[in-house]
Structure formats: structure tokens, C-alpha cells
């Protein structure tokens, strides 16, 4: 995206909200509309077959990206990660959880991984319990055995969208399984920035959005182990999710289609497949190493240049930490910080980042968040620091 805002080129530091889109992704979607446009799973004509091939091909591509053991059969396309969590709660949660069963989330979750469980609490009487976050911005698992009592599902984020903290998912999966619980992971912030192998992580569910991993908006993914997914009742009802319908009722189809009522986003799946190819072309380990370098550089300079007036709300080093840097500028409200930064063409996100329990934990109303992507540069940090200096002076 090449635009000039307020006489400055854009310095895009909001990849945590939505990533920029590579040309190959836009071209893949364009190709669908120009050459293969038709609905999926319906027509017998040439382009209808091609559209289905695009859609199902993207499903297979996504399965390969995650190393899903059951392949395409484990990939459900949703609207976004939020819908994936709602699907999980409304389908699996409603079917398999009883009053008093516990869903264990954490204090650093996005509202998408909190509110659906609160809704399930209202409808099915489950208990929602929180893993606390310690003063070093990490999950406090010192009392995990106590916390695990009665837990049927652990649902935590792979990486905090506020703190940048990367959680020990494999360890949590081990703990969950040892207690007979399943584990779901919010991968919205993690999947674009490091490799995700659901077998190696030993998890049961994974939710993420395409538009935070260089893909298009309007598309999300719920991955679930095949044996679990096949036991789950349908979510939304309508066309495409049935085996049979009569005036007496319906029978749901099997496989991921069971959860994909109505015409799905099709061009978007082509875009996602292209995004995954783009990411793997760069190499997920390379991306992780590169972003670690960018983050480390930014953290060091933020600590040096502002005499403590700019506080990072998140781990201060790059150990188990991603490129999401939340800032609290002394005496300047995050909204004002973001407004001044905009004058320098710097795009950051002010607000509570849909993580109000976490904000309350640290006594904050909001932060100004800069977040990096694989295309970010050290020069982006240069502009960020220049603009921050201006904000500090202006309100000083």
C-alpha cells in the first residue's frame, strides 16, 4: 500500500489489527472473479467445477500449512476468528459441556475468546475461569493444578494481541490433556509470525483470521481434530450443510461443510491460499527471526530514548515475545498519542484492543499499540520514535 498521508508515506504499524496484502493475494482473488467465478459445490459446468477446485484447494492448502493430520477434513472456513470461537462454543460447547463444567481462559484473552464462553455460561451454566497474568506479563501457572479442577476446555491465545507475550501452548496442552480436558488456541496473532504445527503443539482446536496473515478480510478458520469435529452438531443452518431436508426435518451432512451453511467466501479462500504460499516462501522461521530482531531493536530504543516516559506494557525482552508493542506514554492519552502519530503517517492502534479484563488487570483504560509484520522495516521504528518524541513534547 503506497499512499502519502499528511505529506508523509505511510508507516504501517498496525499489523496486529490487519496485515497488508501482497500483490499475489490480490491477484489470486482477481483471477477467481475474472476467470472462475461461480458458486461452489453446485453447478456441473466448467467454471463451477473450477470454483469448487479453488475453494477445496484452499482448504487442502490450509491443512498443509498447519500440518493437520486429517487434512482438509479438519478445516472449517468461517467469517473470522471470532466466528470460529462462536462456532466452537455453540456447537462443541453446547453439546459436550454440562452445568458446572469449567472453561479455563486467561486474563490476556481477546473478547472473542471470552464473550462466547460467557454466553455459554448464560445458556448452559458452565463456569468460566481465568488464568491470571503476572507482573512480568506472563500467564501465572503456579496454581495451575487448582485452576484445572473441573476444567473440560482450556482456551488460550497463542500470542497476546496487547502484550506480545507468546504462551507455552505445548506445556498447556500437556496439562490440559493430563486433566482430561481439551485445548483450543487463539492463533489470530501467532499464525502469521511463526510456524504452527498442530501435531507438534498437541492441541485440539485452533482459530485464526485470514486478514491478519496477509490474506483478505471476511475469512477465518477453525481447525479441529477430525474425531472431535465429526462429533460436533451443526452450527448455522441452511444450504450446503445438509444431507437431506423434507417437510419433517433435516439431516446434516458430514465433514467441514456441516459448519458452512450458505455460499461461503470463495475469492477470499483463493486469497488465503496465496497468502500461505507467500508466507511459506519467506519461511515461517525466517519471519519469526526477522520480527524478533525488529522487536528487540524497538524495545531497546524505546527504553533508551524516553527516560521512562514511554512504558512498554509487555515483556521487555524478546524471549517468547512477538512484535506487538503496547505503549503507555506518561501524561498522554493513547488516543492523543495515536492522533499525533497519524500526523507523521504512523498507523498505530489506540484503545483497549478488545481485551478489557487485561486492561483492568494493569489499571489501564487503553494503550497505543504498534505491531510489526514481515514487511516492516527498522526505518518504521525510526519514524515511530520521531513521532513519539513529538507527542511527548507536545503534551509535556
Amino acid at each position: 500500500m503506497q499512499r502519502v498521508i499528511n505529506d508523509r508515506p505511510i508507516t504501517y504499524l498496525d499489523s496486529g489489527a490487519s496485515s497488508l496484502t501482497p500483490r499475489s493475494v490480490i491477484e489470486a482473488m482477481d483471477r477467481y472473479y475474472q476467470h472462475h467465478h461461480a458458486n461452489v459445490h453446485r453447478g456441473v459446468y466448467q467454471t463451477a467445477n473450477e470454483a469448487t477446485a479453488v475453494y477445496e484447494g484452499a482448504r487442502a492448502r490450509t491443512a498443509r500449512f498447519l500440518n493437520a493430520p486429517g487434512g482438509s477434513e479438519e478445516i472449517v472456513f468461517t467469517k473470522n476468528a471470532t466466528e470460529a470461537f462462536n462456532l466452537l462454543a455453540r456447537s462443541w460447547g453446547a453439546a459436550f459441556l454440562s452445568p458446572g463444567d469449567v472453561v479455563l481462559v486467561s486474563e490476556m484473552e481477546h473478547h472473542a475468546n471470552i464473550v462466547p464462553w460467557f454466553q455459554l455460561r448464560e445458556s448452559h451454566g458452565v463456569e468460566v475461569r481465568f488464568i491470571p497474568v503476572d507482573d512480568d506479563f506472563r500467564l501465572d501457572i503456579s496454581r495451575i493444578d487448582e485452576l484445572m479442577r473441573g476444567v473440560k476446555l482450556v482456551s488460550v491465545t497463542g500470542m497476546s494481541n496487547v502484550l506480545g507475550t507468546i504462551n507455552p501452548i505445548h506445556d498447556l496442552a500437556e496439562m490440559a490433556h493430563a486433566h482430561g480436558a481439551l485445548i483450543a488456541v487463539d492463533g489470530a496473532q501467532s499464525v502469521a509470525h511463526s510456524s504452527t504445527d498442530v501435531v507438534a503443539l498437541d492441541v485440539d482446536f485452533l482459530a485464526f483470521s485470514a486478514h491478519k496473515m496477509l490474506g483478505p478480510t471476511g475469512l477465518g478458520v477453525l481447525w479441529a481434530r477430525q474425531e472431535i469435529l465429526s462429533s460436533m452438531p451443526p452450527f448455522l443452518g441452511g444450504g450446503g450443510m445438509i444431507k437431506d431436508v423434507s417437510v419433517n426435518g433435516f439431516t446434516a451432512t458430514t465433514g467441514p461443510s456441516r459448519f458452512e451453511a450458505g455460499t461461503p467466501p470463495i475469492a477470499e479462500t483463493a486469497g488465503l491460499a496465496a497468502a500461505l504460499t507467500y508466507l511459506e516462501g519467506l519461511g515461517m522461521d525466517n519471519i519469526a527471526a526477522y520480527e524478533k530482531e525488529l522487536t528487540g531493536d524497538a524495545l531497546t530504543r524505546l527504553a533508551l530514548e524516553f527516560n521512562g516516559r514511554v512504558r512498554v506494557i509487555g515483556p521487555s525482552d524478546t524471549l517468547d515475545r512477538g512484535g506487538v508493542i503496547s505503549l503507555d506514554v506518561e501524561g498522554v492519552h493513547p488516543h492523543d498519542v495515536a492522533q499525533v502519530l497519524d500526523q507523521f503517517g504512523v498507523c498505530v492502534r489506540p484503545g483497549h484492543h478488545c481485551a478489557k479484563p487485561l486492561m483492568k488487570r494493569f489499571g489501564l483504560a487503553a494503550t497505543a499499540r504498534a505491531s510489526y509484520g514481515p514487511y516492516s522495516l527498522v526505518s518504521d521504528t525510526d519514524v515511530l520514535l520521531e513521532a513519539l518524541t513529538h507527542a511527548v513534547t507536545m503534551f509535556g
Binding site: P334, H335, Q339, G351, A365, A366, M394
Partner: protein
């Protein structure tokens, strides 16, 4: 291009750094909480009304410079005024904060005529906010909360 100086006028920064009428009022004063769910700002407006006059007003809460300055300026503008005058000021201010629906990329246009700006006195310093449409909610939070407080006390 919307200039940052249009938004952060010196008078706004002054009211942000030293807000007027901060604090709480004991009963029988009435109080109402206002929230801006988008940015997490919170405000509490305390009003003491006697015989149709807004005798005293105090504010607590936290928010950005625009919301804090706007509430501070508001408190000075309405304190000691009759409820009719207060409602009139609220209406005039909210009119000032109204923009025409514009095309993406076109500057927003304030609908308020100059005459209204003069009537608003110091409050006119907030007129630049309409050039930054996402900040309008910051400026109007205190005013909407005050309007709610008046509605609740008049019933």
C-alpha cells in the same frame, strides 16, 4: 488537510493539563456515568440543581485530552445557568459537532454558522474537532452525559 493545531488548540491543552471543576458532589447532587466503549474513556458528571438552576457541577473520570478539555470547558459554560440555558448550550454544542456525510477523503464540513461559534465563547476552541471525525465522540461524551443527568433529574 486537517492540521493538528486545529485540534490541539492551546486552550484545549490548558484545560487538559488543569481541568476545572474536578471532583465529586455529595447528595442531593445527582450523578451519571458516561462511557465511550470504543476507547475505554469513562466520565462521571455530578449536578446540583436547585429551583431550575444548575447550581454546581463537578466531573471525575479519565479520558483523552479532547474529552477532558471538553468536559472542563463544558463545566465552566453551564455552571450557574438556568436549565433552559444549559439545554440550549448543549444543543448548540452538539450542532457544532455535527458533520455532513462526506465522501471518503473529503474534509468534513461543520454545519454550525459563525453566529453559534460566537455564542459558545471559549467552547469554540473545540470547533476543530469536527475535522477529525473519530474524535467527535471524545468531545461529546461529557455533553451527552450531562444531558442524561438533566433528563433523569427532571422526571
Amino acid at each position: 488537510m486537517a492540521n493538528l493545531d486545529d485540534l490541539y488548540r492551546e486552550i484545549i491543552l490548558d484545560h487538559y493539563r488543569s481541568p476545572r471543576n474536578r471532583g465529586e458532589l455529595p447528595p442531593p447532587a445527582h450523578h451519571v456515568e458516561g462511557f465511550n466503549p470504543l476507547c475505554g474513556d469513562e466520565i462521571v458528571v455530578y449536578v446540583l440543581i436547585d429551583d431550575g438552576v444548575l447550581v454546581d457541577i463537578k466531573l471525575t473520570g479519565h479520558g483523552c485530552s479532547i474529552s477532558q478539555a471538553s468536559s472542563s470547558l463544558m463545566s465552566g459554560a453551564v455552571k450557574g445557568k438556568t436549565l433552559e440555558q444549559v439545554r440550549d448550550t448543549i444543543a448548540t454544542f452538539k450542532q457544532l459537532m455535527t458533520v455532513h456525510e462526506g465522501q471518503l477523503g473529503e474534509p468534513a464540513v461543520a454545519t454550525s454558522p459563525d453566529a453559534d461559534l460566537r455564542r459558545l465563547g471559549e467552547l469554540a476552541a473545540l470547533a476543530g474537532v469536527v475535522k477529525f471525525p473519530v474524535r467527535i465522540k471524545c468531545a461529546t461524551l461529557a455533553w451527552n452525559t450531562l444531558a442524561q443527568a438533566l433528563d433523569e433529574t427532571s422526571t
